[in-house]
């Protein structure tokens, strides 16, 4: 059997925020809020933790930095050292300045794409997915609060 939910529709985000505050103070759990744009300050009211995507971006960037360093050391020093304008081809560290631009670009490339892919997967938004919003007006000018009955069984 499908779960019973109550949808509350607002036409102003400030009114929704005030409504959410008074509901939460009475001990009612709000499962979800759908809105056409980010409502600032709604997250702490309905108990949404801040995302950790920023940390993920840092880790992806670190991976890119490492791959670029290891890769260029292998290509330019270990595998096939070439004498290019007399630049030191026997040591990564002494020729490092020439490798800074590519290292930087590759770090940014990995951080940006890694984070973007993680973001799409975490949201479960991928090409061709069906729309997840309860009402088409929530992407225009309506704000919807979702309350699940099963979350609030302790209330009479």
């Amino acid at each position: 059997m499908a779960e019973k939910v109550i949808y509350v529709m607002y036409d102003d985000e400030e009114v929704l925020k005030d409504g959410a505050k008074s509901l939460v103070s009475k001990g009612i759990k709000i499962a979800e809020v759908f809105s056409p744009f980010p409502i600032h300050g709604i997250d702490p009211i309905i108990g949404i933790k801040n995302t950790r995507l920023g940390i993920m971006a840092f880790l992806y960037g670190l991976t890119g930095l490492m791959l670029a360093t290891v890769g260029m050391r292998f290509f330019m020093v270990t595998d096939w050292p070439m004498n290019i304008g007399g630049k030191p081809n026997f040591s990564y560290l002494e020729n490092m300045l020439a490798f800074v631009p590519v290292t930087f670009e590759f770090t940014v490339l990995c951080a940006a794409h890694g984070m973007a892919i993680t973001y799409l997967l975490a949201n479960k938004t991928l090409p061709g997915m069906p729309a997840q919003n309860p009402d088409p007006r929530t992407t225009d000018d309506r704000f919807v609060m979702e309350i699940r009955i099963s979350d609030n069984l302790n209330l009479s």
Binding site: P38, H40, I42, L53, F104, A122, T139, D140
Partner: protein
């Protein structure tokens, strides 16, 4: 809800509700295209096809069909490349740097400026590829294992840095742009009536929900991508300038090239944004969102970066004399008084004098004047690259090798053709994509919208 000073001009004119914003942006997509759109699209398509024809002929015959010779091995191709990359700098600067500085006026222009960036970088990328002559071995610029050794690409070379810089810039800008587009595609999806457009926008919007948690992630992703894209914008044109600055050709061998190129890129990029937006706002009825204040802000950016560029020109001239290197001194004397004097003085007029007119408030708030100056700046910035590239190499150390460059009709055809392809892309964007960032405009409606700012209780505390 954020408040701002009452003396600031409202960013959204008129008495708009959230629904009006949706209506205003979606109407041009849902209505039939006006006749003018078809006429412009037809012209752009013809020019684009002519350009593609020239490119195909070039690939079939070889780059000998260009006007290059033994002395001048780089001319229009690299000039066009740098010109397009420069134009491609405004979009990400607007959406990333201005996001970090919390400039709210960016929200009216960032979507179309980013689209312009992406299309301009496509056009830029075309030139190094066709200059290879053998386009089908283009993958040789990537460090792939191969059967020549493996012989790797040269990571010491600025040309290879450029490959990494341009491809990173293009793909990161594309992702940044698309992530912002997803919620707006969802708005169009939920309004669409016809099954085909419903299906198309449903695929494009990835099933976006508008959940509070998703918006929380959305804002973090936008902020972090902006933080990553900001150094990227500055690095890309710096690396493009390394193509010249690390050589020993007099006129190229200058340490001020990176900041000078970046300022020039922002300068030309904003000029192109002005050219496109002044027409777009009128044609699509978006005057309430992109109005005189936005144009004025962009003109101020043009004025500041134009002044940086002017200072760089004069510094370069002074240092060529002050360095005491006779080759450097001659290179600059030759620019100003040699056979290419006309290119030098058009560059100086267009890029040094014209932005200074923006100090006059009346002129920088005049739409007609802005449109005129934006075209002048675009022409001037093309000449800047032409002057740097062609006049520096046409007379270098060995007078017996001195030569002149005369473009062939293929040179001209490929260049004009890229302008055509660019406009084909941009017109398709204006027809099928939301040209304003809907969800971002809605967040500033209460803080910066005219009817809210003029309401009597705007400055009372809640």
């Amino acid at each position: 809800m954020q408040k701002e000073a009452a003396i600031r001009e409202p960013l959204i004119l008129g008495h708009k509700s959230y629904h009006d914003v949706t209506e205003d942006v979606c109407r041009p997509i849902e209505d039939k295209a006006p006749r003018m759109w078809y006429i412009l699209f037809g012209i752009a398509l013809i020019i684009a096809l002519y350009g593609i024809g020239c490119i195909v002929y070039l690939l079939g015959t070889g780059i000998g069909v260009w006007g290059l010779n033994k002395t001048i091995g780089w001319a229009w191709d690299i000039t066009n490349f740098v010109w397009w990359v420069g134009i491609g700098h405004a979009g990400t600067l607007i959406s990333a740097v201005l996001l970090l500085f919390r400039q709210k006026w960016r929200m009216a222009i960032n979507r179309s400026a980013e689209a312009m960036t992406i299309f301009a970088v496509f056009m830029a990328g075309l030139f190094p590829l066709i200059h290879m002559g053998r386009l089908w071995v283009g993958y040789w610029v990537l460090p792939l294992p191969n059967q020549f050794g493996s012989l790797w690409v040269n990571f010491n070379s600025p040309l290879l840095w450029d490959v990494f810089a341009i491809s990173t810039y293009l793909s990161v800008s594309l992702v940044f742009w698309y992530i912002g587009l997803i919620p707006d595609f969802a708005t169009i999806r939920d309004r669409a009536k016809k099954p085909v457009s419903k299906k198309m926008y449903s695929i494009l919007s990835f099933g976006w929900s508008g959940r509070a948690k998703h918006w929380n992630r959305f804002e973090t992703v936008s902020l972090v991508l902006a933080g990553l894209a900001t150094p990227l914008v500055f690095s890309v044109h710096s690396i493009v300038s390394f193509d010249f600055a690390t050589s020993i050709v007099p006129g190229w061998h200058t340490t001020i090239f990176p900041p000078y190129f970046v300022a020039g890129a922002v300068f030309s990029g904003f000029a192109m944004v002005q050219t496109l937006l002044l027409v777009m706002r009128k044609a699509m009825g978006l005057e309430a969102y992109i109005h005189t204040k936005h144009i004025e802000y962009m003109n101020i950016v043009i004025m500041v970066t134009g002044s940086i560029v002017g200072t760089a020109y004069i510094t370069e001239l002074f240092i060529s004399w002050y360095s005491g290197v006779e080759y450097e001194a001659y290179a600059f004397l030759n620019r100003a008084t040699g056979p290419y004097w006309w290119a030098y003085w058009s560059m100086m007029t267009c890029n040094v004098i014209s932005p200074q007119l923006m100090w006059i408030r009346k002129l920088r708030r005049s739409l007609l004047f802005t449109f005129f100056i934006s075209i002048v700046v675009n022409i001037g910035m093309w000449f800047e690259r032409y002057v740097i590239i062609v006049t520096s190499i046409h007379r270098d150390y060995l007078p017996s090798a001195w030569s002149m460059h005369y473009p062939s009709h293929i040179d001209i055809g490929v260049y004009i053709g890229t302008i055509g392809i660019f406009f084909v892309f941009f017109l398709l964007f204006a027809r099928y994509f939301p040209v304003l960032a809907l969800n971002e405009i809605k967040t500033i409606l209460k803080g910066s919208g005219q009817s809210y700012k003029e309401a009597p209780d705007y400055h009372k505390h809640h």
